[in-house]
Amino acid sequence: MRAWQSLTCEWTRLLRCFAPRNDNLCQDKAINMESVFTRTPTLKDHPTHYCPGCGHGIIHRLIAEVIDELGIHGRTIGIAPVGCAVLAYDYLDVDMVEVAHGRAPAVATGMKRTNPDKIIFSYQGDGDLAAIGTGEIIHAAHRGEQITVIFINNAVFGMTGGQMAPTTILGQVTATTQKGRDAAREGYPLQVSEMLALLPGAIYIERCSVSNPAQIRRAKKAIKHAFQLQVDGAQGLSLVELLSPCPTYWRMTPAKAMEWIENEMTKVFPLGCLKDAANNK
């Protein structure tokens, strides 16, 4: 009985998303509720395959909300990476393409140059962007391609089983640094945002995290700014780096993973706006 009631409730809430407010929709006064938070249309109602506590789910939602708030759904094309988010097109309801590992900024360049009126964004992990794709991102930024790049930094290669990423921090244990990352052997973690901020063609670079609600709100603002710049026709590349949890390969609980971002990752990858040419930063 309770199960049936909760199902009716769910249906009512869903109807309220798309219908004007009407108390007659729900006859039972005990469950007469106002909808205050709904799934945004660009986020598909499709269960994700992500691990419990993964940051991709949060970030997909932020991107979908931004696309809907800016009203650009009909002209946005997204590029999915090789990584855990390879199936992003199952979750984001925009035209999407799946490309070779790391090549997204080059594909984005081909798309944007031939379709300047479309909003092109790439969604890339730290393997995609900071390992195999370093050439492509640097040159896209260097040329000032008018695209938006969402860079997910979780300090590890998730999809392939938790190997070291260029962003793995010193001492971090991974599948290929089983005694912990050692600077002498494996080098230092790569600070992509700092590197790209040096290039004149990169006009907006900000690093955020999704480790708590305040940070998530900051992250959404940054993502929105990065898309808005493209909508405004700003001459240059925008990149938002997001510190995101990987509880599975950090071998932590989701809650501990969020703490680890705040206590450890931000020491190596400080949060903040590194560059915002539009606002003279």
Partner: protein, 373 residues
Amino acid sequence: MATRFLQQTRRNKLSEDVNVSERLLMCGNEALAESAILAGCDAYFGYPITPQNEIPAYMSRRMPEEGRVFLQCESELAAINMVFGASATGKRAMTSSSSPGISLMQEGISYLSGAELPAVVVNVMRGGPGLGNIAPSQGDYSQATRGGGHGDYRTIVFGPSSVQELVDCMQLAFDLADQYRMTVVVLADGILGQMMEPIVFEKKPGRKLPPKDWALTGAKGRPQNIVRSLWLAEGALEELNYKLQAKYEQVQKNEVLCEQYFLADAEIVVVAYGIAARIVRGAVTKAREKGIKAGWIRPITLWPFPTEQISKAADEFRIFLVVEMSLGQMVEDVKLAIAGKAPVLFYGRPGGGFPTVDEILDKIRQLTISKKK
């Protein structure tokens, strides 16, 4: 002198009512570039590499004149991926390179093929392997006709043997790419790219092509389009491969191009393509003058390969001599086509070397003598 010819080209832009240009003297690289523009190429992405640098230079000037996209990018790896991006949005896109750069593009070509995106790739072949040299070669035949990258796929491959043929096959390349949603590789070489020959540009009626309703143009008023090559569900990728195979069978049935000369009574048949075929023409002509019954088959599409024509030619007892500027790559396809019906011999010059008319004539003579024995 070059400027005058280029000015002529601009005057003869076939965007108005003119269907055939006057005869122009152009080098292969620039002629193929202009032909691509005529074919409606929307975007050219490329990186410098000898011996095809005239192509990006020419495109850098002409594409903006036509309001199209030109970009010199950071590598061949980037170039093929920019082609991928433009093609995914429904545009006609191309790139060009030479052998070592084409190796870098193999990943991209595999992805283009898996995602069923149209593309045109020009390979002005040079000596290899490795850095090789900048002399002409035909050492990339296997790479082009066997797919080159990972997975079960094919690309349509042209082996033109004159600048006019290069111009003509560029027009066809874009149509075939769109019709079949495939990558079309045009194999030129260092000689063909550099040599100047008189040509005409002709506006030919294009093929009737299917609409690009799969293209990524923004999901306004329709469900999202997805361009992908990853198919994880059980059996899904196998299904895609069978779909590709069915498509390739259509191409093999409909698109073979091949020419044959002096075949009727030929006892020695020389098989060659591209610039090697030009040299072979000289040798066969001279052989005939000396009363040697030599003939010659010239594949123009290297994939689909003219298997039927060559097989038929082997029904008469003949000796086949395959001539290539390599250690022997097309010779394998000739042997497969002939299936043991006749002897197949090979003569080649690899690593940037190319045979002379007399060298080939000598080989033909030797075969005549051995046949008599």
